[in-house]
Amino acid sequence: MMLALDLTLAALVVVLALWTVVARQTFSAVVGFVAYGLVLALVWVRLQAVDVALTEAALGSGLTGALLLAAATRLRKTESPARLERPSRLIHSVAALVAAGVTAALAIAVLTLPNPAPTLAPDTAANIESTGVHNPLTAVLLAFRAMDTLLEAIVVLFALIGVWSLAPDRAWGGRSGPHHPLDPDGILAFLTRLLTPIGIIVAMYIFWIGADDPGGKFQGAALLAAMWLLTLYAGISDAPRTHGWGLRLALVAGPAVFIAIGFAGVITAGAFLGYPEGLAKPLIVVIEWALFPSLAVALALIVAGVPERDGIPGRDGS
């Protein structure tokens, strides 16, 4: 019975992946990609990797899906002319060869893994006590491999800078995305008023439970970002001006605290990002609390998009 479910899921993943590549319209491809992400999340649940499933659903499928949908909407006007430009047969075959090569290399790598696969899981389990957290994933992400998490948090910030740098001169430092007028009796405003408080509580719960159970700051921050985006789209609140000091402080506070604690570790524990004996848990909690709002703001503003209006006056040379 479970085998039938697993086979169906695997087949669905492959079919949706093919659909995403083959679909002629960008919009259809994006819809395929989002569905693919949701089925993939179910696959992770079946593999008992609930943390990964949560991240895939919230970030891989939800947030990336929203980004791609926005991109597809922007590309709609150029889509039919772009389709007339067919790449030459040579490019087609080279692309196919490279794609097939990558797939083959991955397949070989996975299939030739020694059985049992090399793993650090026993070491993690043996040393998890020293971190004070009970979710092994959180222990790995914030103690044993904290460097990766730090870089991830900074990459999100770089992505946001990349989005902002696409702003036209007249909108530099202005508000992200178009202005959404508020319809006070509209259904979107109704949904936002009802859902936002629930969503915030669920986001906090997922964030807080991360110490002991599947969950954590990235998944919680994605939910929090979604709630903020909902209020933006419903017109209940407006995107902040991107040159505001408060906003920029909120964005860098998380990574800055993380880096500061990392350097403190050089003195107190003898290694960058090392935690002194007995202080691991409180320091991890401080880092998580600092990163959570920064990530939420950064993720929301990445999706909210390029600054389009209310720029700093005089920047466009007028």
């Binding site: 259904i187 979107l188 109704f190 949904l191 009802l194 859902l195 629930i198």
Partner: protein
């Protein structure tokens, strides 16, 4: 008692699955956006509701049951609003033609 509950689960989940199937068929077969939405949302809402109802006797602890009921209510809310929004766009586009 547990046999009755199992039977209830079986009947409710099967009925829920039938609604999902009907909704999917409607989504694939109905002629325009509004009727497709009609098929999808009505059937999915009932489908999820029946499946939650069927799973309720099987969960351990009232907190988990409560979570599932909340999930059902959230799905109801989200799908009702989403279908309204999609229907509005579809209506506007068909009026513009």
């Amino acid at each position: 008692m547990s046999l009755v509950l199992d039977l209830l689960s079986f009947v409710a989940i099967t009925a829920g699955a039938v609604f999902f199937l009907a909704g999917t068929l409607g989504l694939l077969r109905f002629p325009d956006a509004l009727t497709r939405l009609h098929a999808l949302t009505k059937a999915d809402n009932l489908g999820v509701g029946l499946i939650v109802l069927g799973l309720l006797p099987q969960v351990s602890g009232w907190a988990n049951g409560l979570k599932m009921i909340v999930i059902w209510l959230l799905v109801l809310l989200a799908s009702a609003v989403a279908s309204q929004l999609i229907a509005r766009v579809a209506h506007r586009e068909s009026a513009a033609e």
